[in-house]
């Protein structure tokens, strides 16, 4: 393979990798605050994109996207309030099961509200045939948007969680709910906020990838699956690691595809997931706190 080809594969890998990373970031936010994995995360991306596409019929693109993000955030908060807060004995099993139910419900709702047709947002810059040449490889400018938005999200979140009061309050809840409450943190509100934030990020991600991947009501679940694979690969809760893991997985998939039958590409991510879970559940970059990850 010559250099332009290698670069082309890298871009293909990085494109999908950044999509996975954004989904993983959404998981991590909720996980960090509540300790649960929200199986409905993928649906937020699709809801956001669908809303934006609908709004785009009436208002210009940036307004449509902003509107979609806000509504999805409210939706996220609403979901948490209605479904999750009411659960009386919140065991891990029960919460997983509920978020699965929520994801199915959201998907079916989208089917009946929007129907099964595939849609997409217009390209943010250029058209479907625009192409940018970098190091001999050609990519759509939208790919740069995806990368850019992911980077901004990550760079925005890290200081948020580390330095702002709200961010740190959210992290405190994840570590020890009782202690956080004793410090005067309204942990229930933090949980709702984490859902809203995840939903908003998801919606934004859904909008930016829509021109690339197109949007259909049932795309949420496959995205979610890849998203968790990446989140676990990087180490649950660690968003920077999720980005790195996402890019890595994307690149691995691209290279497997270049050398072998394309069908193996899908198998690769699953095998990696299983290996990580079995060998190092804390993820590539997580603390090697294996005792906490494993049952007796």
């Amino acid at each position: 393979m010559n250099l332009p080809q290698v670069v082309q594969y890298c871009f293909a890998g990085v494109t999908v990798g950044s999509i996975y990373a954004i989904v993983a970031i959404g998981f991590n936010i909720i996980y960090n605050t509540t300790g649960i994995i929200n199986f409905a995360q993928g649906e937020f991306l699709i809801v956001g994109a669908m809303l934006a596409i609908s709004f785009n019929h009436f208002v210009p693109l940036p307004v449509a996207i902003a509107g979609a993000v806000v509504i999805t955030m409210l939706l996220g908060g609403l979901i948490e309030l209605i479904f999750l807060r009411q659960v009386r004995n919140p065991s891990v099993l029960r919460l997983i099961v509920i978020t699965i139910g929520i994801s199915i419900l959201m998907r079916e709702a989208m089917l009946h509200i929007w129907d099964e047709k595939v849609r997409s947002l217009p390209y943010f810059t250029g058209t479907s045939v625009s192409t940018v040449t970098i190091l001999g490889a050609h990519i759509s400018p939208q790919v740069l948007w995806v990368l850019g938005v992911s980077a901004v999200i990550v760079m925005g979140l890290t200081p948020f969680f580390r330095f702002t009061l709200t961010g740190r309050a959210m992290r405190a809840c994840a570590d020890d709910k009782m202690a956080a409450r004793l410090c005067g943190i309204n942990d229930r509100w933090m949980v709702t906020l984490s859902f809203m934030l995840s939903a908003g990020i998801g919606a934004l991600a859904g909008c930016v990838i829509s021109p690339v991947t197109q949007t259909q009501y049932d795309m949420g679940a496959p995205l979610a699956i890849k998203g968790f694979t990446v989140a676990i690969l990087g180490g649950l809760g660690n968003s920077m690691a999720a980005v790195a893991a996402g890019l890595m997985l994307g690149l691995v998939e691209a290279f497997v595809m270049s050398q072998y039958d394309v069908a193996y590409k899908e198998a690769v991510s699953i095998v990696i997931l299983l290996l990580i879970l079995v060998l190092r559940p804390s993820g590539l970059f997580g603390k090697s706190d294996i005792a906490a990850m494993r049952a007796l």
Binding site: I36, I37, F83, Q86, V87, R88, N89, V92, L93, R94, I96, V97, I98, I100, G101, I102, I104, L105, R107, E108, A109, H112, A221, I225, F228, T229, I232, A263, E266, A267, I270, V271, L273, L274, L277, V278, P281, M293, R294, A295, L296
Partner: protein, 356 residues
């Protein structure tokens, strides 16, 4: 004989099954048996999953994978034409042992393939091996990690059957012959065999339930319940939690595989749609709705919901109905629809042991 009391429900259900058959035959509506039989086979998966989730406390998002292993194994073995290989020593050996037989397919051509009984045995053996190998590393994991690992397992099986040419890829495998259990007793989807298939299905289901009830009340069952209540305490008391969980995992896999084998013979076909994430999630929903540790709840919900779904009662809202029921139960009645107080039963059992 206080033990007998726990089997009363089995007898009750068996009687109910018989009465139902009589009624259906009398009103010339035996066609309902089609969906009941199919649901009964799906219920096998659910019973196994209930043992795993409710009693051993492990979550499995990929249980349809075991159903597929059972179903696809028999599908491939009973339809793959070995005619071209008939001179190979291994093939002629199997032929002489009666494992491989010559028959006519539905178009009248001669084919040489495994007969259903050996295929069944192979399917179960394969399931045990795979479940054991998968279970070994995965049982150790906690909460969502196990959920993810089981999801991964289901996905791998899905990819294999979807991509593999020998598995028929996206179209699956059809023209699978019926399963002649013994002379005069067949698992066969045709209308003439409806009543027979119905009884075979229920017999298998009730046998599985009896086994499950035995397990729950046995030493293993008690060990599992203690793990469920408080794993660390159990562990400190010397309960080999790992071994028991693995046992239940493999057992639940066997239940699912048997369901897969029998339904595949009943339908005469199988496809990748039996092992999608949606299917696995559906089994999980049924167990949750029946009440996680409630075997009878799981059975009833399994038969009822699948029956309605297969008859198209939910129409285009099929998945949505499952989701709504799931959420409603999880929020309002986590013990499941039958609301049987599992803790009370457990403690009363334990106290009886202590006193008796």
């Amino acid at each position: 004989m206080t033990h007998f009391r726990r089997y009363i429900p089995v007898i009750a259900v068996a009687l109910g099954v018989i009465i139902l058959q009589v009624v259906l035959s009398a009103t010339h509506s035996t066609y309902y048996m089609t969906q009941i039989t199919m649901s009964a086979y799906y219920a096998l998966v659910v019973i196994g999953l209930c043992l795993l989730m409710g009693y051993a406390g492990q979550i499995s998002l990929g249980h349809a994978g075991f159903f597929a292993i059972g179903g696809y194994t028999v599908a491939v073995l009973t339809t793959f034409n070995l005619m071209a290989y008939r001179d190979m020593p291994l093939v002629s050996l199997c032929r002489s042992l009666g494992l491989v037989v010559q028959r006519q397919d539905i178009y009248g051509a001669d084919i040489l393939a495994f007969s259903p009984w050996p295929a069944f045995v192979v399917a179960i053996l394969l399931t045990v091996i795979i479940a054991f190998l998968i279970g070994l590393p995965v049982i150790r994991l906690k909460g969502h990690y196990m959920a993810m690992a089981s999801l991964g397992f289901g996905l791998i099986i899905y990819r294999i059957v979807l991509g593999g040419r020998i598995f028929g890829q996206a179209d699956g495998i059809s023209n699978i012959p019926p399963f002649k259990i013994i002379d005069g007793l067949e698992v066969n989807g045709r209308a003439a065999f409806r009543v027979e298939s119905y009884y075979i299905a229920w017999f298998v289901v009730l046998a599985a339930m009896t086994l499950a009830i035995n397990l729950v009340h046995s030493r293993v069952g008690r060990a599992l319940r203690s793990i469920h209540e408080n794993e660390e305490a159990a562990h400190s008391l010397g309960v080999n939690t790992y071994r028991y969980k693995l046992l239940v995992f493999v057992l639940s896999a066997i239940f699912a595989a048997v369901g897969g084998v029998l339904l595949t013979h009943y339908n005469g076909s199988i496809g990748p749609s039996e092992v999608t994430v949606t299917k696995s999630v559906r089994y999980l929903v049924i167990v949750a709705v029946g009440g996680m540790a409630n075997l009878w709840g799981a059975l009833f919900m399994g038969v009822l919901l699948n029956f309605l779904s297969l008859r198209g009662v939910f129409g285009s809202y099929d998945d949505a109905v499952f989701a709504i029921i799931l959420i409603a139960i999880m929020l309002f009645s986590p013990q499941g629809l039958l609301r049987l107080p599992k803790f009370r039963t457990v403690t009363s059992l334990l106290s009886r042991r202590a006193n008796g």
